[in-house]
Symmetry: D2
Subunit: 382 residues, 4 copies
């Protein structure tokens, strides 16, 4: 089935190949009355823009794409009108020639073989639809979701928390967007840069981990039994190229704890200035019960999700990103005809999906949560 639409009520449909005319998408179901401009979207797009600048820390490619967003519908007099919001980005600076050599090879670690077998053909130019460039549409759609979540007092933060096996302490997550690699810790940046440069010289690539967090989520988001909040977030993240694992809260580590240690204790709590959902958003891990009584979790090993429903604590998940499959080193693979062939991939390629994947993960989280926030309006009789 068409796998290019994401979401149920707040929905994003995307299109585009890395070397076709362009990429874009349609957001359908965004509530009317939301202030939205091309700049709101461009701002997020620029965060994933490549270019060896400070942000990339040298881990991403040299090609500099303007990626100017154009809004095609759904906004009237500066606000969303309730109709579908379409956006498009023209492809420019495409050096298809860079990829001609790839027509006769199935790149190791890529979707080339799968596409060929699935469809009986494939667009070999830069991976076509399976190119990382596809994520541009996710970030644009996610930017609209982020604007909506802002109006609900929900904010999302993402950063790289490990690169090439070197972890970074979460000393300053909000500041990550201003550092190379979306690194949450100033002191870790030089260590990562050193690791990147070493690997780059060897013609190899790196993987890493990304931490995603959401603050201000009301408790109760999620739709059991199949559409648990963390279930659809896992779906959202694993659907991004290069992602190989997802965990909520302590995740795999919790599998090694006993119940008495893994459970988060819950205590009575009244936030300063009356127990209102708004106020509770100010205090991590706290929330309000239907009766109006406040509560707080002593810890957040669950990552803000219990039984598939948000519990009032900050959402915290970790995403594992494999090393980029396109390496300059020589590798053995086969041609579309099945003949053995050696390949060393040149062209402009990142050393790691980090940092560029960070805004993509943030976008997918925003799209998923916006969907749940709207669905929650249908949960009860009023």
């Amino acid at each position: 089935m068409s796998g290019n639409t994401f979401g149920r009520v707040f929905r994003l449909t995307t299109y585009g190949e890395s070397h076709g005319p362009g990429l874009g998408g349609v957001v359908d179901g965004c509530p009317a009355g939301l202030e939205l401009s091309e700049e709101d979207i461009q701002k997020e797009l620029d965060l994933r823009r490549p270019g060896g600048g400070e942000k990339g820390g040298g881990a991403d490619t040299a090609r500099n794409e303007p990626d100017r967003i154009r809004l095609l519908s759904g906004v009237f007099a500066g606000k969303t009108s309730g109709t579908p919001i379409a956006f498009h980005v023209e492809n420019t600076n495409q050096r298809s020639a860079d990829y001609d050599a790839l027509a006769d090879v199935l790149r190791p670690g890529h979707a080339d073989l799968g596409f060929l077998v699935k469809y009986g053909m494939r667009d070999h130019r830069g991976g076509g639809r399976s190119s990382g460039r596809e994520t541009l549409s996710r970030v644009a759609g996610g930017a609209i979701a982020l604007k909506f979540l802002e109006t609900r007092g929900i904010s999302i933060l993402a950063c790289a928390c490990e690169l090439g096996g070197i972890p970074a302490p979460l000393t300053d997550v909000p500041g990550a967007a201003l550092r190379p690699f979306f690194c949450p810790d100033e002191a870790t940046v030089p260590l990562w840069e050193k690791r990147v440069n070493t690997v780059k010289k060897a013609g190899d690539t790196l993987g890493g981990l990304v931490r995603i967090m959401a603050f201000g989520l009301p408790a109760g988001l999620g739709e059991p039994v199949f559409d648990k909040l963390d279930a659809r977030l896992a779906y959202a993240f694993m659907g991004i190229g290069a992602v190989k694992g997802v965990e909520a809260g302590y995740g795999f580590a919790s599998a090694r704890l006993t119940g008495s240690i893994n459970n988060d204790a819950c205590l009575p709590f009244t936030p300063p200035g009356a127990a209102s959902p708004g106020a509770s958003a100010l205090i991590p891990a706290s929330g309000v019960l239907p009766g109006g009584a406040g509560y707080v979790f002593a810890d957040n090993k669950a990552g803000g999700v219990l039984g598939g429903l948000s519990n009032g604590a900050p959402l915290a998940m970790t995403v594992a990103v494999k090393p980029i499959s396109s390496i300059a080193m020589k590798q053995s693979t086969i041609t579309p005809e099945g003949r053995p062939v050696d390949i060393a991939i040149g062209g402009r390629h990142d050393i790691s999906a980090i940092p560029r994947i960070v805004p993509v993960i943030k976008a997918m989280a925003a799209l998923t949560i916006a969907d749940y926030v709207l669905l929650q309006r249908c949960a009860r009789i009023r």
Copy 2:
């Protein structure tokens, strides 16, 4: 939105609370002409049946539920007719009294608080819909998917690969279903039993890891960009209660490898007796290209998925299961009114979701893959 339907073409809708009249579901979209009997489903249900018997290894509860499945529709003259297949299991032996004490407490680590805030009410009897008993319907629906996959030469194996921090080598995965804890290694069983008994005495609980594998998958299954094969499998697994993490192939470990090590080399290969998809199913990690040429992967770090599409290698994923949240030890929590309260959960509770979760994970994998196998029929012009 209603979160109780899973799948797109091959769909399962489930219902039921642990202490209501019963549980069941409806499978819609199962192809007509599939041989199906109540026994086919009962067989799988019995694998998740509790009871301190050998299978449980003492990790699961003492209550013995018959859980007799009843087929209500969709089968005519021993075969599926193309109409919805409904099944139902009556709840018996419900000691609701066991749970009366829970009406006034929000159990730590459970969905109680989320349900209360989401719906303004909750069924406190054994967790109601959020009870592990809900998975009974998944296993029944999955049994139908397994029967369908059999006809396509696809088989699914699942086992526990770690319990309470003690890993088990995959010496005999097929035999796991005959061992306590679905353990793949005979020598590990006593170690796990010892760990379980120690923890049980302490009134505590354990978590673990489950390995899921699928053999005979044709390459090309999956629907980029959002509905990648591993994305929907992650969604399927994270949607099971107690699951906190999912990874494909090397998963989190691959985030620490370099690209040159993480990529699986692909080599020309001709399976014994002509290159046919059928034949290739016999050789793990092999497949056939459109032109008819065969190939094989030297390794399977990717876990059988590249770019969200199956690649002909066996699907291999790992699922992290947290320790059971209901413990006999005393814990601090709050009442629905927000008052602090201590609780020690008695009643009949498992020490670990393992082994009972293993057939559930197998069922969700079967449902997901059956969906993709059918969708694949729509991928190309014929």
Copy 3:
């Protein structure tokens, strides 16, 4: 794709064959906190119950099915809990023998041929899934939707407005449920009874028209461009067996009017006691604008829908029902092997789908509108 689930947020999934173990369904997405009992559903089911009693006016079958509904989940302490609401009705009094003769014939006007070609097999007993008995599940699900709509001040009325070519004036629509044939006019009843008896003697059958109306709908329900309110209502009604046509408002007649005649004039209007949506519901064809000003339509040729959105006037649609295809007269058809054969269908069959289809149409309208009422909660920023 599985075609047995209806709705997007308020969803009904049904199952069951006329001569299998039973029929039922699952309502998922019903808001929590709705008072609901088995009697609420039984009441609606009884309206479609056959039996030559007064209600049927002799147009329906002689077999008397108890059709006792049983609620299997989703209700706790007398209220919906937010979890799926499953219901089941056992099949009783099945004289499968009545249908053995049909195993070797494809009945004219029935789905027999289509099912045989589609699935390569068919359940010949009473039409299996294509039996009118399938609608029992729709009425049960619709009863839950009706209870929800009541809480929103929305009521739905349905009646037969023509039978066997004899129209009935809409003198008393609310009283229709108490008259034979759901006839809205006392004086028309004997005319219809006479027509029915004549046709019955001839071994023939009759068709008719059903009028469906909804009062208290807020303006703005509907989701352009594809999911217009009347579009999904047409889908809902045409999906009922024996329905061959649907029109909104003046429908086919409006195709013969000029725009100046067909347009409904809109006038300022303030309902007695302030302009509130509640109050406006009391005055047909009136509504309230965002600024609070009231309005009323001088006429309702549009049937309450403009541009696919409700406009505050009562919803009014007409459904065309073909004559029952099972007739006692001899007809020519073929066997599943393609041999010519004559058939005269005995057994217990209705002379007309009216009156039994009336509650089914009402149920489908309720399910459709409940879905839109919930979706409307997602339309705007708040």
Copy 4:
């Protein structure tokens, strides 16, 4: 919920307002390997192009839109690649000034009031999303579906069969596309032209009926119980602006027939040159049974659908189109603030939705049938 996506496996998502930057859509789920060019789509778009030329017969507007389609993705080397197919048409020649007068009035017969109440705002320029111009995206998407159906031997014909109350005999349906008004009868053209001119002088508008037919449909298409073939076609047609009624086969007329007259007799039949589905497509109303035996219907009062499944006879449905609501005559209505106001709509407006709606109905039929053709591949075990 987002109502701008149509279809389940073969899906179209559309966007765009009449006076925004442009309109377009994304077709997702089209099988790979289909030959497709911009010209294939442009050809269909040109059929709905306005302009007082011969085709319009004077019934449509004077503004001449180039409406040049641009393919943005999904096609590689002249064939669909299996990835989403996006297309866009720039809006040109927008005289928004024509519509400034409409900012302060809710036009009778239009969606203005509904949009205002639903979203709390509206784009008044030419109706924005509710403009007939929106159908451009449907025709473009339908053109892709038509190309796919061609490969399956399925063809779709549409024509106007009544205009302003004057019916046209179906003497030459295939030739309709070459005549003014898509009229199927040469002799009727002048009668319609005369009617149009009279009404145009009066500043009034006309409605009409459209006949849609599909040939070469295999029997068995459709997904009971809710997704019957005619149910989703009714949904598809009623979702088009100005459509007020839909019927299949004899439709409303069949409600006045007796069963013995309404049933279509089925006879054994062997098409020339062996009984193959291909061959049967050549003979209207014929088909082939699983055993290989052929059959033919003596008549087609059912319109090619029985029990919601195609039966091998040509699909035949009729659609009722209301007169254009924008008339030059003075009408009474209200302002967004609820004040009474008179309005006479100037600007460039059609006298009738016919002929421009004919290709739109054809497109919606193609999209619906393409979806079912693909879903049918999942109906049986193979």
